[in-house]
Symmetry: C2
Subunit: 504 residues, 2 copies
């Protein structure tokens, strides 16, 4: 997933969940002789699967640095071919290439897979083991983990999914569903060309035949708990830049602050513009013509009411140093806001002299970095357009709006086969997942769930890892914690999921 912080917040939000079930119940699976055979094959191929992951980690493709992208796409294609995909094609997008592959077994059901082959940048100096080595390291309380860039975000879970296909084939079984794989190389830079990739005529036609698309993930918290999330908010990241040059008032460079008596201030201009965007509470959005989302639905309220009991409000507040929710809301009301409300957030503010002490300057430029979260019923384009005309109408048309990235929100119905199969698979494993309307993470699910495809989409997978976008990223390989799946069990969760998807 792109936005690790979002992902890790999600994890953190659920880190306090009391694990509702401990172990994957082997009895439940043993009933199925196919599964028993595949399970033996997974165990037999453990070293092969770990080696495949280590090999992938050793070959980073980093879109932000334009590093080894073509090689990354080709390696992704090879991985797909090796896993049994019959048709594999590198898709040119105008940006970094995507990879499209199909595995057709003549099954009744076709399922989409969304992969990313790029990883986040890293600074080797900050790591305790070389970030491309894939070293196996002991982690107290967890077991043996593989450390490396991409280990959990997203090569580890994706390689586990591929290992599931190898194991099914290796045990002489047929993959129970047809698969359509879409892998992009620009996830970590905001998926600027995901629409071109997913709506390439051939890719679109293949995706249209699926019952939905999932991304493999290591979904378990350190307590073993899992959540089935029905979507994610959209997000727009943008900068508002006020400057004397663009305004035609104020100075064109930082000048001495005594001049404030006769020269306008672009910093004040920005503050005044910002002030018009939200109410005095700092929360109510007051952008003229801004898309208004529908109120939280009864279904979503029910999910929150049910899911909130698994969350530790006090622990959560303590973790982030939060004393009160907005409007002194109850935990339930706060969580309802969390899943249903759009936001206008200032992620950064910078202008003039920002060092220690003071410096008497009248700055010529100031920047507010905003992120706007979007919920269903709001489009990125409509939100940006409203912001633009709002500023124009209020006398701030000179303030440059530099949109640096973003997607629309993504939502999937609870009754979608893709989701119901997730729940069934987790429950079959003895886990009671929390069903949550909308996660804090952002990923370009909109391209699947929005028009023209209008598919279901989600994340799935047992297993655990952490450190996406951070040093010492890891994926759990051998679990010593009975609540958390090791790598082989993660692989088996994909086997089970494919079988569950085939069932309905």
């Amino acid at each position: 997933m792109r936005a690790n912080p979002q992902r890790s917040t999600l994890s953190l939000l659920f880190a306090s969940v009391v694990a509702t079930a401990a172990v994957v119940h082997d009895e439940a699976r043993a009933k199925d002789s196919d599964h028993a055979a595949i399970r033996r094959e997974v165990a037999a191929r453990h070293d092969e699967a770990v080696a495949r992951l280590r090999d992938w980690i050793a070959k980073p493709a980093i879109a932000a640095e334009n590093l080894s992208m073509r090689e990354g796409a080709e390696h992704m294609a090879t991985l797909a071919r090796d896993a049994g995909f019959q048709k594999v094609r590198i898709v040119e997008t105008g940006g970094q290439p995507g990879v499209f592959a199909t595995l057709d077994v003549g099954a009744k059901t076709t399922v989409g897979l969304y992969f990313m082959y790029d990883v986040k940048q890293y600074d080797a100096a900050e790591w305790s083991a070389p970030p491309l080595e894939g070293r196996l390291v002991d982690k107290p309380g967890l077991g043996t983990v593989m450390m490396g860039r991409g280990a959990v975000n997203q090569k580890g879970p994706q390689a586990a999914m591929l290992a599931a296909l190898h194991a099914i084939r290796g045990s002489g079984k047929r993959v129970p569903v047809n698969l359509v794989l879409v892998a992009e190389g620009e996830e970590e830079i905001g998926s600027p060309n995901i629409t071109k990739l997913a709506l390439d005529p051939e890719v679109r036609a293949a995706l249209a035949r699926t019952i939905g698309v999932f991304m493999p993930s290591a979904s378990q918290t350190a307590n073993g708990a899992v959540t089935v999330s029905l979507g994610a908010k959209g997000v727009i990241e943008l900068e508002l830049v006020a400057s004397g040059e663009a305004w035609g008032r104020g100075p064109a460079r930082d000048v001495h602050s005594s001049l404030k008596a006769m020269v306008d201030s672009p910093v004040w201009h920005l503050v005044k513009a910002l002030d018009t965007l939200v109410g005095d509470d700092g929360n109510t959005i007051t952008i003229d013509g801004y898309p208004v989302p529908p109120p939280i639905s009864a279904t979503e309220r029910e999910m929150v009411a049910k899911g909130m009991h698994a969350l530790d409000e006090a622990g959560f507040k303590k973790q982030f140093g939060i004393q009160r929710w907005i409007g002194d809301a109850t935990w339930q009301a706060a969580l309802e806001r969390f899943v249903s409300q759009p936001t206008v957030n200032i992620e950064g503010l910078v202008g003039g002299y920002t060092g220690p002490g003071g410096k008497t300057v009248l700055p010529h430029r100031a920047v507010a970095k905003l992120d706007l979260r979007l919920v269903p019923g709001m489009s990125k384009d409509a939100a940006v357009a409203a912001l633009r005309s709002h500023l124009q109408a209020r006398g701030y048309g000179d303030i440059v709006i530099d949109v640096t990235g973003g997607y629309d929100s993504t939502s999937t119905r609870l009754d979608a086969r893709l989701i119901q199969a997730q729940i069934a698979t987790y429950e079959r494993g003895g886990l009671v997942p929390t069903i949550w309307p909308r996660g804090a993470g952002s990923y370009p699910g909109f391209v699947f769930t929005g028009p023209p495809l209008n598919l279901a989409a989600g994340h799935f997978g047992l297993g655990h890892g952490s450190g996406a976008h951070a040093p010492d990223e890891y994926m759990l390989i051998t679990s010593t914690n009975p609540k958390i799946a090791g790598y082989d069990e993660a692989v088996m969760s994909f086997v089970d999921y494919l079988y569950a998807l085939a069932k309905n």
Copy 2:
């Protein structure tokens, strides 16, 4: 002077002045045989004066670094003793020591001198000559300058004043006025103990006998023009700090921005608080109960009307990249604002993520660095008190106001003997000074011009230098530009000024 940027802005404001006179007219002085003798003595002692300055530059006292302050005070005391001050005392202030000295010749008139013995910090790597060497360097269009930290701010002009005393004595004459010297060592850190120094019982009693206090300065621009300024605005530097911790809302550390849906934002809190301080134009002060200064006086308007003709509006706008004055004012109206209006300026704004691109955080803290310029009729304490109760009353009482420095404004009447003698001395030298109500520079003149002393105060001196607070600071020693006084002529300007002060 402390605030070099202020000083240099002042210089820049007047850099476009057409020099109204070229050279110091020796004929005018030659009439006075005393002056002719002293002038010869100044020439004879040129090397001694230059060596005295070089020696002083080699011994920096830097209050911000607590570097050699005691040594700096003792050197100042020695310089005073050598120049003929009979009583010299190091005054403990609780901060860095001050130096108090008196030179009593039984004259009718007693004049105060304000010196600073501290200098600004420096980074030797940025200099083209070692900052403590006092190297003589050729500057095209000017002549030979001495380069060194403190060369113009303020050791050069102060040493020229001391050289004047040496020359008067050396030529067998009597200094024409009694002198009271107050030298502080904390000018560059905002003179936090200047009141303790100037109002020490013995110092206060001595100052009370003076007709006013002046600080030696190298007042000529590169065009040779001089300004007689009747005061300076006051300034308050402060930080407004909004934080989740102090507010009891928002997070105690930066958290993921998705939480904005249920957690308040200290950044928005700061923006909303800032918004209440000025009107939509960013200029009109709207702080409840803020001191309201009287409108610009007819006398000051006249000074502006007269002085503005020497200023090049187009050149000034071009220099700072300014297209329009506040409210599309005329040059005259803008300059009237400049000299008469208080300001609330944001010199810096910083919160959350300020690097390139974005980072989806909800920051726990944001800071606005403000400087508030004060004019006569406003006190620093009343302004801060009004700001404090304003924020309290508007629901922003949690925002911490950290006042990091400042002084009240300082004003002196045009008809003060101290000022009239400046004008007479410049005019005797063939220069027509611009009389200006209030400079952009800040210095702690309030301690002399305010109660209980209520004295006249100002800056005086011919000569030229630049680079205060910057690398390659210099003072002109040998002028090749007929419009600008060299060091000996600067020394003579102090001789002439003392004689003029004695006359009335």
